[in-house]
Structures are given as structure tokens and as C-alpha cells.
């Protein structure tokens, strides 16, 4: 891929995104001229870029969008939801094509047809308000399709500009010479000169009154012709039309190509009788030959079909080779599309942050310079005290630099949350339209920064929560009216940073979640018993929606409501070391709150000691630590529980979870860690609490990766190994 093309791919994506954002702004406020201009500019630049690479269907499609916008800008058409839909569709298609271009550097074969379909759709959306000049075959251009074949032969199969030029009767007085104008039409493919009426007797004809009209087809783009006819805009109408290819007489019988003949021969060879040994040898030779033929023909993609057939019996292989010989196209289509390569990971970094990193590395080099000096002093027999002092100083300097360096590197990975917010307006718009609800999305805190990995994880759950809010939270307009609420629902997504990390809240002012319904559902799903459900407070019952199979809604729609989503949301967020909270007031709305660590590289753990080893739990999951006297632990058969803050919480022992021997020590109570397991509070007995630690968690690799229950390992400052536990999997 050339550097220029690479640039084109990047730039096109940005332009498409910019266009999308402008379009949404425009739809909200159709009078927003700045949005029209932004959108227009983006499309125009994109058109120019596509033309540079000779991507005709792409250019044409963008051009159609531009035309539609022109109509909106000139007040010839109104910005309607339908039109916005079409334009968004156009942008989506563009984005898909750009993705394709990045991989294959060519547009899909269907691009031409797709462009035409979009063009037609746009025209329909513009409705009758649009001037004929904006349509492809609007009234007045039917003749284009009625042309006898002989006349349209030059234009067949091309997208051309049709010109209908009816000069004003008195145009000669204005100095016009219509025929001369037609002579100047670039790439003239057809010119029809017609009388506007029947000719009068010559004597009665007024030679200064124009009685001719002109119809023409040109291969030049409409813009160019608009310029040519700029003096007579009222007398000419232009339209971009696709002239269907002529009914092609049966394709001339192509003499079978050499490749075809050779492939047929290979198939024949395979069919020859012979001993098993001979057949096997032949088979190998034939396969080799067939592959080479395909490679030479540039049909490498079809090699896959061949390889598949090669695994089967001989007659399947013969059939395959024969079909390769006869009908390359059919086989090509049968081969699966190669999976899209993973998107390139690129990270844009502020130059400022890069500079800070450089400065720190410089300081580190200077600090390092002090060490040889210390070594020399040690050799020369300086006192141990003096040496220790020197080493401590050097350590202090290096330590502070390394600390800053670590911070600087983490900052390199920080990106604004707007990256995950960007797709939301579009999604809300589309979903709300589909559901027939009117919703205003309020985004705030997009400038909050979080680690790139966190953002990657946050994207999906956020989309889901927003979709869920739209689908289940926000009521249909009539119910909102009945409830005395404003018809336009408000959906708020706000992000901010607090001491624990990044908080993203998704709230709606909809119907809220009926805790009772959630209880019923959870019981029906067998997640808990009726008694257990009844014992839950409403807030606790709400958390049940995060259990697999429990949904917030009675109805399952195509959007959400299958009860898989919330579970997935919780899973993704917890995997990133965060947690989800939900609060809802029936009739007033629901609020979801995602709390995520600022970065995934350094994880803050609460460390505990159990059976002589250290274990860590993410701070975000730990809600408290306390000593519980033995008497406070209730026992029912094997299940233990404890009352914490007026709630009965199941009590688990880490030693038992890890299959370690029981703690035999004499003690008055238990050290209990209170952990929030996705809405389920759990009390965990450990041997002793240790300090909190900021660690860089390394995931388990190799054989250990299959061990469940461990989130990773970390080395503590004193060199001891810490195992970070994933309680959910242990319990």
C-alpha cells in the first residue's frame, strides 16, 4: 500500500466520522447551517480523495450525497429523518468500502449497483421538492431510456450526464448560439436536435426565433456541464444517469484458454485407471500442476477450493478441477471471503507527553552516572556507613525518576472517553427512530481520560446500557404523556474521575425497574428461592438483573431484553477490575454506574495472608474489612453466614476455597474481608490482612493459564510473589 493510499484510508475514515457527527447535529437542528457546511465540506473533500484513486462508484455515491445536501442548503428540500437515514446509510457504506480498500485496495464488485441504489434512495428521500436537476432520470429525462440502441451505443454501460437544453425563443438576441454551446459539450456521446413544433412554411418562419431543442449525453461530470451552461441555467437541466449496458449478444464464444485446457487435462489424468500407487502419485502431480496453473492465472484464492477437494475422494477432486476449468467465476464465489485482518492498533500520543518521557529518560541517564562513582568509592575502601548513605541517595533519585517514568508511560496510554462516546449519538438516534421514541442524549465528561485497554473494554457494555435504557427504560411517547412527563426522554451518559477510578453513569428518566418483577423473574429462573427473594431489599433485588437469564423487561425485543446483556456487561466490567451498580426509582428512571480502574497496568490490590501465602483482591471489589467474633458466625449445616450492616451475608473461608488445611491456630475471631461479587455481598475469612499494594498484574501464561480462579501474579516490592484471585470463579 502506498503511503498516499494509506493516508487516503486514514483521512477518509476521519472525514466519514466528521460527516456523521455533522449529520446528527443537522438532524437535531435542521436550521444549523454550520452543520450543513461541515457535512458538505467533509463529503466534498472525500469526493476529491476518491476521485484521486479512480474509485468511480465511491465518487459517484458521495457525489449523490453532496447533491442532496446542496438541495437542503438551497432550501429546495427539507432535512427529514428519512433523508438523514439515507445519508447515514451512505456514510456507513463508505466506511465499509474504506475498510475493504484498506485490505484489498479495491471496491467490492457490487459497489456500482450499491452506489446506484443509494443514489435512487436519496432521490426518493428528497421527494418532489427537489429540482429535476438533482434526479437521475426525473421527469423530462425519460427519453434517455427510450433511446434506440443505435443512439445510446456510445454511452452504454456508463454513468453519464444527460442534458436537456431548451433554448429560450429569443435567445439569439442574447447572443446565444445553442448549437455552438452543444459543440462545446465535452465527451459528447449523443446529440439530438429536435424541432419544438412543426415547421411553418419557410416564408412564415421567423429566423430570429429559436425553434430547436437539444438533448445530449455527455461522459463529463455534471459539475463541468453546469459550468458550461452557466449562462443559461434556466434553459437547461442536467441529470446524472446510468445508461444500461446494451443487451449483450451472447458473449463471443471465448476459445478455451490455455489454463482451461490444461486444467481439463489434469482432470482427465486423474480419471485414468491405474494401481493405487500410480493413482496416488498422479494425484500429487495433478494437484501440484493445478495449483501452479491457478497461481499463474492469478486465481490463488481458488486454491482453497482445490485444497478442500484434495482432502476428499478422487471423483470430488476431478469435479472440482473440472469446474475450475469451466467456470472460474462460480468457484471463486463459493470460496469464503478471507476474514478481515484485525484492525491496526495505532495510538495517537500528544507530543507533550512524549517530551516528558524523553526528559525523564535523560534524568535517568544522569542518575545512573552516579553509580560508577559509588563503586569506585567502595573499591577505595570508604566506610560502610558512607557507602550506604551514598547508595541510599542514588536509590532515592532513581526511585523518584522511575516513579515518574511509570506515570509518564501510563499517561501515554490515556485516551479521552469521547472515543467510546462518539458512536453513541448515532446509535441513540437510530434506535430511538426504530422504536418510535424521542430521546435526547446528553453526553458529558467525554474529556475524562482512561487507559486505552479500559476504553476498549468499556465500549461494548456502554453501548449495551444505552441501548437497554432506550429499549426498556424510556417509555413510549403515549405512556410518557399519560404519566405527565415531557415527551422527549432524557438519556444521560456522564463520565468523571473519582478516587477509585473512572465512573461512567448511564441514566434515563424512564419507567424504572420494577424490583418485584425482577424478583419474580429470578425465582422463575431458579436463581434463588421465593424466601430468599423476599428477604432481599429492593436495591438488592435490582442487582439480580446482572444474573444470567434475568432480564429487566418482560418483552424480548431485537435490541435487548434477552437477559444476556446485563450479565455480559457485568462480566466485561469486572474483567477489567471494575464493578457495576444500579439504582432505580419506579416511574422516575434508572441509573447504571460503571466504576472502572483508571488503568489496567497498575492494579490496586488489598492483600491478605492465608496459610503463609499472600493473595490479592482488586480494591474495587472490596467493600470492607472487619474482625468478626466466633460467636457472630451462624452455621447451618455446612453453610456459614454472618450479619453485616443488618444484612445476612454468606461467609466463605479462603482456605476451603483454595483447598488448604484448616487454620488450627487459637484465635478469638476471624479476619473477614467483605467483597462485592457483582451484587452478591460475600464475607471471606482470611488469616490476616496485609497492606494495600499497587502492582503490575501479569496474567497467568502457559500451563497456568488454564487454572481458573486466578487473575494473575505480581511481584511485591520485597520480592515475594502475590497471587491475585478471581473470586467469582472460586466461589
Amino acid at each position: 500500500m502506498s503511503a498516499l493510499f494509506e493516508q487516503f484510508v486514514l483521512e477518509s475514515r476521519e472525514l466519514l466520522e466528521a460527516a456523521g457527527a455533522a449529520l446528527l447535529r443537522l438532524e437535531r437542528d435542521p436550521t444549523d447551517t454550520a452543520a450543513v457546511n461541515d457535512l458538505f465540506r467533509a463529503l466534498h473533500t472525500l469526493k476529491g480523495a476518491t476521485a484521486l484513486f479512480d474509485l468511480a462508484p465511491f465518487t459517484r455515491m458521495v457525489h449523490a450525497g453532496e447533491d442532496a445536501l446542496m438541495a437542503v442548503r438551497d432550501g429546495r428540500a427539507a432535512m427529514s429523518g428519512d433523508l438523514a437515514d439515507r445519508l447515514l446509510e451512505l456514510l456507513d457504506t463508505g466506511a465499509a468500502w474504506v475498510d475493504g480498500l484498506e485490505h484489498s485496495q479495491s471496491l467490492p464488485d457490487s459497489a456500482g449497483a450499491r452506489a446506484q441504489a443509494l443514489e435512487t434512495g436519496l432521490r426518493a428521500a428528497l421527494g418532489g421538492a427537489a429540482e429535476t436537476a438533482d434526479g437521475a432520470t426525473p421527469a423530462g429525462f425519460a427519453w434517455v431510456h427510450e433511446l434506440p440502441e443505435a443512439e445510446r451505443v456510445k454511452a452504454a454501460g456508463r454513468t453519464v450526464t444527460a442534458i436537456a437544453y431548451v433554448p429560450a425563443e429569443d435567445c439569439f438576441f442574447a447572443g446565444d448560439d445553442p448549437l455552438d454551446l452543444c459543440r462545446r459539450i465535452p465527451d459528447l456521446l449523443l446529440l439530438r436536435i429536435e424541432a419544438t413544433g412543426a415547421w411553418p412554411p419557410l416564408a412564415d418562419l421567423d429566423p430570429y426565433r429559436c425553434a430547436l431543442r437539444f438533448r445530449a449525453l455527455s461522459g463529463a461530470p455534471k459539475d463541468e456541464l453546469t459550468r458550461l451552461f452557466r449562462g443559461v441555467p434556466d434553459q437547461v437541466s442536467l441529470a446524472t444517469v446510468a445508461i444500461p449496458a446494451l443487451a449483450v449478444p451472447a458473449p463471443p464464444a471465448v476459445p478455451p484458454s490455455l489454463a482451461t485446457a490444461m486444467l481439463r487435462e489434469q482432470a482427465r489424468i486423474l480419471g485414468l485407471p491405474g494401481s493405487d500407487e500410480e493413482t496416488a502419485a498422479r494425484r500429487a502431480a495433478v494437484l501440484r500442476a493445478a495449483r501452479n496453473i491457478l497461481a499463474a492465472e492469478g486465481r490463488n484464492a481458488e486454491g482453497a477450493a482445490l485444497d478442500r477437494a484434495a482432502e476428499g475422494p478422487s471423483d470430488a477432486l476431478i469435479r472440482c478441477i473440472a469446474s475450475l476449468a469451466d467456470d472460474p467465476a462460480a468457484v471463486t464465489q463459493a470460496t469464503p471471503v478471507p476474514p478481515a485482518a484485525p484492525a491496526r492498533r495505532a495510538l495517537r500520543v500528544d507530543a507533550e507527553r512524549m517530551d516528558r518521557l524523553m526528559a525523564l529518560v535523560g534524568e535517568l541517564v544522569v542518575a545512573k552516572g552516579g553509580l560508577p562513582y559509588l563503586a569506585r568509592e567502595a573499591q577505595e575502601g570508604r566506610s560502610a556507613d558512607a557507602l550506604a548513605q551514598g547508595i541510599k541517595e542514588a536509590h532515592g533519585r532513581i526511585d523518584s525518576i522511575v516513579g515518574e517514568l511509570q506515570d509518564a508511560v501510563l499517561r501515554l496510554r490515556l485516551l479521552p472517553l469521547s472515543r467510546v462516546f462518539d458512536p453513541l449519538p448515532r446509535m441513540v438516534r437510530d434506535t430511538a427512530r426504530r422504536l418510535g421514541k424521542s430521546v435526547e442524549l446528553h453526553l458529558s465528561g467525554g474529556e475524562t481520560e482512561a487507559d486505552k485497554d479500559i476504553l476498549d473494554i468499556l465500549g461494548e457494555p456502554l453501548l449495551h446500557l444505552v441501548r437497554n435504557g432506550l429499549d426498556h427504560g424510556v417509555e413510549p411517547p403515549e405512556r410518557r404523556r399519560a404519566a405527565g412527563k415531557p415527551e422527549v426522554a432524557a438519556l444521560r451518559v456522564q463520565a468523571f474521575q473519582d478516587s477509585n477510578g473512572i465512573v461512567v453513569e448511564v441514566s434515563d428518566d424512564g419507567a424504572g425497574i420494577d424490583a418485584e418483577a425482577v424478583r419474580r423473574k429470578a425465582v422463575a429462573k431458579g436463581a434463588l428461592t421465593v424466601e430468599q427473594a423476599a428477604a432481599l431489599s429492593d436495591a438488592e433485588a435490582l442487582r439480580l438483573i446482572f444474573l444470567p437469564g434475568v432480564s429487566t423487561s418482560e418483552t424480548v425485543s431485537d435490541l435487548s431484553g434477552r437477559g444476556v446483556g446485563m450479565d455480559a456487561v457485568r462480566g466485561a466490567v469486572e474483567q477489567a477490575g471494575g464493578r457495576v451498580e444500579v439504582a432505580s426509582t419506579p416511574g422516575a428512571g434508572t441509573r447504571f454506574r460503571l466504576v472502572l480502574p483508571l488503568t489496567m497496568m497498575v492494579t490496586r490490590l488489598v492483600t491478605v495472608e492465608t496459610a503463609g501465602a499472600l493473595y490479592g483482591f482488586p480494591v474495587t471489589l472490596v467493600t470492607g474489612m472487619q474482625r468478626v467474633p466466633h460467636g457472630a458466625i451462624r452455621r447451618m449445616k455446612h453453610a456459614e453466614s454472618v450479619v453485616v450492616q443488618d444484612a445476612v451475608v454468606p461467609l466463605l473461608r479462603l482456605r476451603r476455597l483454595l483447598n488448604l488445611p484448616e487454620d488450627e491456630r487459637e484465635r478469638s475471631g476471624e479476619a473477614v474481608l467483605l467483597v462485592d461479587l457483582g451484587g452478591q455481598p460475600v464475607a471471606l475469612v482470611v488469616d490476616a490482612f496485609r497492606e494495600r499494594a499497587d502492582v503490575v498484574l501479569k496474567p497467568m501464561t502457559g500451563l497456568l493459564a488454564r487454572l481458573r480462579g486466578y487473575a494473575g501474579t505480581a511481584v511485591l516490592g520485597d520480592g515475594r510473589l502475590l497471587l491475585a484471585l478471581n473470586l467469582r470463579e472460586l466461589v
Binding site: F172, D177, L179, Y208
Partner: protein, 79 residues
């Protein structure tokens, strides 16, 4: 004069402009069996073209000019 009216032949030379329209109209009405020679014509004003079309007279010598030959002559012949 781009159009030379000789006896019963009108010879079109070079760019024939709208100024020729009245003389051509009068000549076409006056001459019994006009002979039209467009051989040297390089540009034909619309006004002249419509006179030729309305007169329904055959073109004796077709124009050499590519545009006229390609796009205008077929119309003149088809009448």
C-alpha cells in the same frame, strides 16, 4: 461573407453566423431549386440550422467539420 449565394448554389464557408439568417431565409424562399454546399462550413449558427431544417432542401455537399458531420448532418438527412 461566409455564405456565398451564387445563382442557385449557397456555399457555406467558415463560421456562418446569425447575421446570415435573413439573407439565407430570403434566398431559400427566392430560389427555385436551391443547392446547399456545406463543404467548407466550420460552424453553423442555430438560426441557420433551423432554416435549413425548415426548408427541407437536400444538402448537396455535406460539411467536413467533424461535429457538423457527426451530429448535425444526420438530422438534416433524416427529414
Amino acid at each position: 461573407m461566409p455564405i456565398h449565394f451564387e445563382d442557385r448554389t449557397a456555399r457555406f464557408e467558415g463560421a456562418c453566423t446569425v447575421e446570415e439568417a435573413i439573407p439565407l431565409a430570403e434566398w431559400l424562399c427566392a430560389v427555385e431549386d436551391p443547392r446547399l454546399d456545406l463543404g467548407g462550413c466550420t460552424a453553423l449558427h442555430t438560426a441557420l440550422l433551423q432554416l435549413l431544417l425548415a426548408s427541407e432542401r437536400p444538402i448537396a455537399v455535406p460539411p467536413e467539420d467533424a461535429f457538423l458531420k457527426g451530429w448535425v448532418m444526420p438530422v438534416l438527412v433524416k427529414r
